[in-house]
Symmetry: C2
Subunit: 414 residues, 2 copies
């Protein structure tokens, strides 16, 4: 049903793969570093409706504000007419950039609209920053485990990750200085509710990280797709809010709060970095959909965004709690898990003897799916971790799914 290859997440050394050399085309070397995301490959197996899937990172479709989005599109066509369908500037639709800058200022980030670039999802923000900074031989400091598609983006520019361990307070900043001595080009971090772990970088570590970034003059790429989704606790200041020297590039998205299908993300950077990223975007896709940018801006003019986010937080918070409680009740002794205060994911550490790949196959047999944790790691890939998504299933299916995984786990341990 599932082989080990996609789960490993990246090809091994191209020298091990004779078919690459037998290839009729002379692809760039970068192609041998990057393979299809393991997570997306797993999703293809798990998208059948009878499967209770904790594998993806998808928001709950039943919470999409479909009516408000449909109305905003209709308004844009009625009010703007042809202008909504024409080419537009690479930087993006100014009213949307202004709304986003304003929102960031409310979180103490000193943002101005003219340094906000609209991107085709926040994934493009990662890709463009990678394109502007990275080349063969470069490295990027990353939390280990790390968001897979960021590793993939860095790898596409032939950079290697410099992994730093993490714990319940996020990236182990005490290990960062050692990594910075190897002259990396960037520090990449999902600062709030990380993917895959769901942990958040503590306030103290944030101050330390900013200081190190400045001392070694290595910019931080702060990826914050989940920051709006906080279910408990108090948000620490964003790294971009602590930064006074233009060292932080901050990226965000409407994918988790409005709709991922619209592909609207953004990037905030200091003027010099902003300029280079805009040039990179110009040759990448000219600009993000004029229609979607205007629809998002039109919607936000009279949509109760805060109320909508609060509703998401209520529902996801309940799902998160249900999952945590179910794990506590059903999983065997020796299991550990994170307790996220927000976001979409929970991270489970099984007893070291258990293989999450084997558990995946057994769980899939019982119609339940997750992502085995190995693919998120750089270097050594421990096999006893699971990433569980809780946003995309109702609480009864979460309860049932966790029960089934636990039963499969007990069978494997027996």
């Amino acid at each position: 049903m599932v082989t080990h290859t996609p789960i490993l997440g990246r090809r091994s050394d191209p020298d091990d793969l004779p078919e690459v050399h037998a290839h009729p085309h002379r692809f760039a070397r970068r192609t041998s570093n990057v393979s299809a995301s393991a997570v997306r490959e797993i999703l293809k197996v798990t998208e059948r409706p009878e499967i209770i899937s904790f594998a993806g990172g998808m928001p709950a479709p039943e919470l999409f504000p479909v009516a408000a989005i449909a109305r905003a599109h209709a308004q844009v066509f009625a009010e703007d007419g042809p202008a909504a369908l024409q080419y537009s500037t690479t930087e993006g639709w100014l009213p949307l950039r202004e709304w986003i800058a304003d929102r960031m200022r409310k979180r103490a980030i000193p943002a101005e609209a003219d340094r906000v670039l609209i991107t085709t999802g926040s994934q493009q923000g990662i890709d463009l920053v990678a394109k502007v900074f990275l080349e063969r031989g470069d490295s990027v400091v990353v939390e280990n485990p790390c968001y897979v598609a960021a590793l993939q983006a860095f790898s596409a520019y032939e950079a290697t990750p410099l992994p730093v361990e993490s714990d319940d307070d996020g990236m182990r900043v005490d290990q960062v200085e050692q990594a910075l001595k190897q002259h990396p080009k960037l520090i990449y971090i999902v600062s709030e509710f990380s993917n895959p772990k769901g942990t958040t970088l503590s306030a103290e570590r944030r101050r330390q990280l900013i200081e190190l970034s400045l001392r070694y003059r290595v910019p931080i790429l702060e990826d914050n797709p989940y920051g709006e989704l906080r279910y408990s606790g108090v948000a620490p200041d964003a790294l971009a809010a602590l930064d006074r020297d233009g060292m932080v590039i901050h990226i965000g998205t409407f994918s988790k709060t409005i709709s991922p299908g619209m592909r609207i993300g953004w990037l905030l950077a200091s003027e010099d970095i902003f300029k280079e990223v805009v040039i990179a975007k110009q040759s990448a896709d000219l600009h993000t959909s004029t229609v979607e940018q205007r629809a998002a801006a039109r919607m936000l003019r009279d949509f109760d965004y805060d109320g909508h986010v609060a509703r998401l937080c209520r529902v996801y918070g309940e799902r998160c709690e249900t999952m945590r409680d179910a794990i506590e009740r059903h999983f065997p002794a020796g299991t550990r898990w994170t307790s996220p205060e927000g976001g979409l994911f929970l991270w489970v550490e099984l007893p070291a003897t258990v293989s999450s790949d084997e558990l995946f196959a057994e769980a899939l047999h019982a119609q339940v799916a997750f992502v085995p944790g190995a693919c998120f790691f750089t270097g050594e890939q421990p096999t006893n971790f699971l990433r569980l998504n809780f946003s995309n299933q109702p609480t009864d299916r979460i309860e049932e799914g966790v029960r089934r995984i636990a039963a499969a786990l007990k069978r494997r341990m027996a």
Copy 2:
């Protein structure tokens, strides 16, 4: 009003630019090769409504099928609901891929939906192919002059253009073999109604180019954004229709026929290339807007696309003819120009003594704009060419604009 710097189109050697070295950030070397597109910089100057602009490459907004597009969006939200707003596959929305494959088959291109990738505009197709094939030291055979944003995309992967001359039958294929001996990675060509010249590669040259591509095993990137816009003459077979060995990557777009603001393009490639390009797209932006893909597919289910394209051809054909006639009437002896059978552009060669940059400044003073031709050239940049767009202005303004340029030209020559 306008300086010479943006018109030159690309920065000179970074060693000439001390401010690059004084930069606080360590950008990748690629950034020093790529500057903001000269065309887009010029557009910023020329977007004032009182200016008769032949500078852009924009379709006529008054011909956008706004009502049909608005209806399609409304139908997608009503019929598909949340599914239209969720993450989707990197390859794209299958019904749209099927429609596009079918359309290509009608032009004798052996297309199957599972080798069609939906891209964020056809610009992304160029960028992804560049990403998959090019690295520092590589080269790409290009027609000289060439579409600027393609040169920009290749440059972003540190490849250099290998320019081949062109005449009224398009790329001088008799010069291509010499270029292929330098082991380029790709041949890039706008095969029908090129940008900036408006010329089309002849049938005979197409057969020769396919043969050379196969003999030297260098794939052809056939960029055909304007192919649907034919006002006279007979379309030659696309390179992708002549190809029997998977050597042609074909890219297309709805930007010139439906709407550029929706950012829907596509790429057709052989299976092995397709696979690499999909992986590259995954890390670039995950996928193109689900909303826009579904809206395009929904619209095409009952929209008279052929009738709409025929209408565009009638209007643009008349504009093209008006511009050609006006040039013939007003421009001084010693001027030459292309006679495009379709597309958006006409290319004018002035007497060698005239500087199009100086003419640009003088014309702008008379409230009319164009793109000086130098930025489209690789290597030596002749200054006596103009690119004129005829799709974006009504015939009376075309007549008046050409008259004003001619008057400015006569003043300069006096």
